[in-house]
């Protein structure tokens, strides 16, 4: 039973082994000639400005969280819209009503966020 997975194990071993071999070769026999320019951070050819770990206003987290919440919820609209005809055939007005309830809760969440001031930038 487990023998059926043997080719997979061989493939994994080859893939990992090959990667390690290539890394080892370039590490041991590649020429090394460091210079200040070479060890600079690569920034698409631009001169690097400041460190990468900068402080970000905490507000971005809130905005990002809200975005993800609404984004994911809106995704549920697509399969519903695609299947709408067959849903109506099965459930009648329930097909529209159930999505109406869903959107209603979503709107309530939006109003809540708004009234609580999470969208005020200052």
């Amino acid at each position: 039973m487990l023998a059926a997975f043997a080719p997979l194990a061989v493939l994994a071993a080859i893939a990992i082994g090959l990667g390690l071999i290539i890394l080892a070769f370039s590490f041991y026999i590649g020429p090394r000639d460091p210079s200040p320019v070479k060890s600079q951070t690569y920034e698409s050819g631009m001169t690097a400005l400041g460190p990468a770990q900068r402080r970000v206003p905490v507000r971005f987290y809130l905005i990002a969280t809200l975005f993800i919440l609404f984004d994911i919820e809106v995704i549920y609209l697509y399969p519903w819209a695609v299947q709408y005809r067959s849903l109506v055939a099965e459930q009648g007005w329930g097909a529209l009503a159930s999505m109406g309830v869903f959107i209603g809760v979503l709107v309530l969440g939006f109003v809540h966020v708004w009234r609580k001031g999470a969208l005020d930038w200052d």
């Binding site: 039973m1 099965e90 459930q91 329930g94 809760v105 309530l108 109003v111 809540h112 009234r115 609580k116």
Partner: protein
């Protein structure tokens, strides 16, 4: 072929308590938007919604079973949907409403002024009750997973609710981190169950595992079923805080606002055990299948009782002590589940004993926590020293806490005695003498730490002398819990019957559902 067209009348009827909770919670959130900063009606709206949910549950309770099931047998109903509205669910619906209601009442004064987000707090209490209902009625792996996640998320938020308090944040974060890992483990286990049966529906899984030759994946099933069950047990065990999945609980209990601690000690435990019973008993409850998990469950029960009771000995914070105490109590409940195959004793079936134990534990523990909430609010501390001289500062709270502790130890004629008696009796009846002995011995150990508090209350010198005046809500909860602790202890029979009736929804399925 499954009939997909929903019967709206049936759905609205049998989902009524949950719908009331959803609408109530959302309504409360909306109401809160327009009374910002003011001392509004939020707690009273919460209590009204909970009362409505309780009445709806009572209405469902009194329905004629023949009408409810439309002439179908319990087994047929079991096969029918993702959410079951049976007597077992009704029992836990009442548990969740009681927990949320008592926590709300005892927490009104405590939460006042602690947080700027007052309406959300009570909305989360309602959402927590809703999540518990969903877990209790879950008949599908997806509903189980969503219910547990829902309750977990609400619990994390409530634990870290006081943003200004470092302990609260720390407790919430630890709870969240442990919870994420155990959730991942549980979901992994659930995918295995789906993988072997090809369905997320519990009845389909139940049939699949009873006919191993029909499994989708046959060659590994003897190994996969126990492995999957253990992973699922990790997720549920985390929610009910049994060893070795309990490490989050002392920190979360200590850091959380005390009313939330009270909720955590009862709500998730009751709901977690509901899921555990539904999944393990109805699906994996046959003698052959239960052999794969009974040993593990029994061992965890023993470990939980020992660890909870011993670790509680050295705690200097009453909330931490209650965390270990509630771990130990979860161990006692687990004994009843491990003994589920045993015969009836004193009129209880083993699973009925578990439900009866949870009922008794709910009132006793919430009563004890109401006292702790009052002391914490009035002295600003939940360390043992804050309880010094409580007998002089508030004789009512002191005597009430003593009685609750006596009930938690299991002294007759209080409710805790009959809970323990029923559970350990079931263990003895199914030849699990070891568990019963461990339970009784660790129960003796538990007397030590409970009585340390009692000793401090009656013989300790208070740091300051003034009388403590508990809020009306706390007085009401303490009085209710006292009365119920005494009534359940003195007249246990009606409550045993309620518990037995609730588990009839499980038992016929456990015995012969698939032997059709």
């Amino acid at each position: 072929m499954l009939d997909l067209s929903p019967d709206w009348g049936v759905i609205l009827t049998h989902f009524a308590p949950e719908l009331i909770l959803v609408i109530g919670a959302l309504g409360l959130l909306s109401y809160d938007l327009y009374v910002r900063g003011k001392d509004g009606l939020q707690p009273w709206i919460t209590l009204g919604v909970l009362l409505a949910a309780a009445l709806a549950t009572g209405w469902l309770y009194t329905m004629d079973p023949a009408e409810v099931f439309e002439g179908r047998s319990a087994g047929e109903v079991f096969r029918s949907g993702a959410f079951l509205s049976d007597s077992f669910t009704h029992f836990f619906r009442l548990m969740s409403v009681l927990t949320a209601g008592l926590v709300t009442l005892s927490g009104i004064a405590y939460m006042r002024g602690k947080t700027a987000f007052k309406g959300e707090f009570y909305a989360f209490v309602l959402f927590a009750a809703l999540a518990m209902n969903l877990m209790a009625g879950a008949n599908d792996l997806i509903v189980i997973a969503l219910g547990i996640e829902f309750l977990s998320l609400v619990s994390y938020i409530l634990t870290g609710y006081i943003r200004e308090d470092r302990l609260s944040i720390e407790g919430g974060l630890k709870y969240f981190l442990y919870g994420s890992i155990t959730s991942a483990a549980m979901l992994f286990g659930l995918t295995y169950l789906y993988g072997i049966a090809g369905s997320t529906s519990l009845p389909v899984i139940a049939e699949a595992v009873r006919q191993p030759e029909n499994l989708v994946v046959t060659h590994l099933s003897t190994f996969i079923v126990p492995a999957a069950l253990f992973l699922v047990l990790a997720g549920i065990g985390f929610k009910v805080a049994i060893a070795p999945f309990h490490q989050w609980s002392p920190d979360a209990y200590q850091g959380a606002p005390t009313p939330v601690t009270a909720f955590l000690s009862v709500g998730p435990k009751a709901a977690g055990f509901a899921v555990m019973m539904r999944l393990f008993i109805t699906v994996f409850g046959t003698p052959e299948l239960s052999a794969t998990w009974l040993g593990v469950l029994g061992a965890l029960a023993g470990l939980t009782m020992i660890l909870g009771n011993v670790a509680a000995l050295t705690q200097s914070d009453v909330k931490r002590m209650m965390a270990y105490s509630s771990i130990a109590q979860a161990g006692y409940m687990l004994v009843g589940i491990a003994a589920f195959g045993g015969t009836a004793l004193m009129g209880t079936t083993p699973l009925g004993a578990v439900l009866f134990f949870i009922l008794a534990y709910l009132f006793t523990n919430l009563g004890a926590f109401a006292v702790i909430i009052a002391v914490d609010r009035l002295t600003g501390s939940s360390s043992v020293s804050a309880f010094a001289g409580l007998s002089k500062r508030s004789p009512f709270l002191a005597i009430a806490l003593t009685i609750f502790f006596l009930s938690l130890i299991g002294i007759p004629p209080l409710s805790g005695f009959f809970g323990k008696f029923a559970v350990f009796g079931a263990a003895v009846a199914s030849d699990m003498f070891g568990l019963a002995v461990v339970g009784v011995l660790t129960g003796v150990v538990s007397a030590v730490y409970y009585f340390q508090i009692v000793k401090t209350m009656y013989f300790g010198d208070p740091a300051e002398g003034g009388a403590l005046r508990p809020s009306p809500g706390v007085v009401f909860v303490v009085a209710t819990a006292l009365v119920m602790t005494l009534i359940i202890g003195l007249v246990p029979q009606p409550f045993i019957e309620i518990a037995n009736q609730a588990v009839t929804a499980l038992e016929p399925i456990a015995g012969s559902m698939v032997a059709r």
